[in-house]
């Protein structure tokens, strides 16, 4: 490869052309739109360039609710999924029977439509005829209005989301575990180190990069939660009349598609973008500090 030529661009052309129109342009446009007061998508007119949309956004209690809900969702779903997945992946990686079968089953939620399986969860969580309440009744507990009582909206959403996100985490953890050198473990076996110690002293440190990756992907995807809410509450953001499960993307979509507030929707999407960048950066911080310390020690 010693001859540079522009031929590479010919091969890149289709991808670059589509990305220019459907990624780069809309990105710039969304940022611009977020500063336009009363933007109209029909003729592109606006009243002025200012921060009005952002002010309106944060004044809106629905948006504040969307932010708290989304953060609550992230705080519960991501760590729960990572911890449970680590446990399951570890068990799957020990010498067990039917490993292939278990692996196949555990990964199933990853490939299924959120919408379809959300409809099924809606049925399982049905306050009157749902399976979950029947199980609760069987054990002598009262029925819970999972989808009808607004206090339980977020709990229902989190149960569904954890169920959905386990698959991806288990799979990448299992792949990483299979990649850890067996030599590390044989040393521990010679010393008769207890299992839990092996797990925290050898497995977890070796898995650190992949756990970090699972956290980043989990956070990014959780911030964009929409389909889960839509399917669980049949198109609304909670029991009718309430926005108890509204999320940032749900809010953006509602402002844009149902209320034609394009500027506010665009401002909401910029806030979403910043939040995702912020959390990704925070998450990477410990790794950076550690790297710096290690570099200092050397």
């Amino acid at each position: 490869m010693n001859r540079k030529s522009y031929k590479g661009y010919v091969y890149l052309a289709p991808v670059l052309a589509i990305m220019l129109v459907f990624t780069a342009y809309p990105l710039v446009r969304a940022i611009f739109m977020s500063f336009c007061e009363d933007y109209s998508i029909i003729n592109g007119s606006y009243k002025g360039i200012n921060l009005e949309n952002y002010v309106d956004l944060f004044k809106d209690k629905d948006f504040r609710k969307a932010i708290t809900n989304t953060i609550t969702y992230v705080i519960f779903v991501v760590p729960l999924s990572v911890v449970i997945s680590l446990l399951i992946a570890n068990l799957l990686n020990s010498h067990i029977k039917f490993q292939g079968l278990f692996q196949t089953l555990y990964f199933l939620p990853y490939v299924t439509s959120v919408i379809a399986i959300g409809v099924v969860w809606r049925w399982i969580l049905h306050s009157q005829y749902g399976l979950l309440n029947s199980i609760l009744n069987f054990f002598g507990f009262e029925s819970i209005g999972w989808l009808t009582d607004r206090r339980y909206s977020m709990a229902s959403l989190i149960i569904f989301a954890v169920w959905k996100s386990l698959a991806f985490d288990i799979m990448i953890f299992l792949a990483a575990l299979q990649g850890i050198s067996p030599d590390l473990y044989s040393a521990a076996r010679v010393d008769a180190t207890p299992r839990w110690r092996v797990f925290f002293r050898i497995t977890v440190p070796a898995m650190r990069p992949i756990i970090a990756y699972a956290f980043v992907m989990g956070i990014i995807n959780s911030f964009k939660v929409y389909n889960e809410v839509f399917s669980l509450f049949n198109g609304s953001a909670g029991p009718s009349g309430y926005n108890s499960a509204i999320t940032i993307v749900f809010y953006i979509y509602d402002k844009f598609y149902n209320n034609y507030k394009y500027g506010i929707a665009a401002a909401g999407s910029v806030v979403l973008f910043l939040l995702i960048m912020f959390f990704t950066a925070i998450q990477r911080l410990p790794g950076r500090i550690r790297a710096r310390k290690e570099a200092a020690q050397k």
Binding site: S5, G8, W123, A175, Y226, S269
Partner: protein, 278 residues
Amino acid sequence: MKSRKPTAIIAEIVKYVILVAGALFTLLPFVWMILSSLKSGSEIVSIPPTIIPTHFMFSNYAEAWQAAPFPRYFLNTVFVATVTTVGVLLTSILAAFAFARLDFPGKKIVFSLFMATLMIPGEMLLITNFVTVTKLKWVDTYKAMIVPWLANVFYTYLLSQFFSSVPEALYLAAKVDKCSDLKFLFKIMVPMNKNAITTVAILSFIGSWNSFLWPLLVTNSTNMRVLSHGLVRFQSEAGAQYQLIMAASCILVVPIVIIYLFLRKYILEGMAYTGVKG
């Protein structure tokens, strides 16, 4: 083999109990969906619910299939997913080759920018893309559902990683034999990486099959609806007939589960690769 201590046996049992419990939790919605879809209209609302249907109502599937234009939704979904997959494979293979094998001015910058777009939430682009599609007069066409998805950074990256691992000597040998780049790509590179390409094809097909928000946004007429959109509509129309709603959910879920069961090797390989190296 040394004799096993009682604690080791208990640990072994606990291990299987956790694994089976987890598997049951994972499978629950699938099993409940199928069982519910086979119950009669009166049985589905019995309290407490029966687990196994007393009569297997396979007719629910026929009824759901005809109750809404599901055959049409099904064809739309298959068509959009297939064309998107073929298209995105083609563009990704070309771009991956450029990143893996060709040297061109500005390559580093283009690649960095390209990868940086992975950070942008697609939801941020929704409004403008909707406007673009409207201005192009693509609303309610297959084009609107397909074209914006014909470039994929992730698939391109994945393929370029695989293409990079093909020995450089092969490429140079092909050059000596006056084999053009394009010919080299499709006669040597692509067949050599057919597993990776199959992985991308399956991931793309499943992704397109399960997509919801964008098709919902850019289509208006019943004729253009895809399955996920159709299911949501059907749910509102069918009211309390949960056995039919569950049968309709099966129509959306089962084809992908079948693809997954037969081709899971490729999906798992792809996921493992992205997870570990990503």
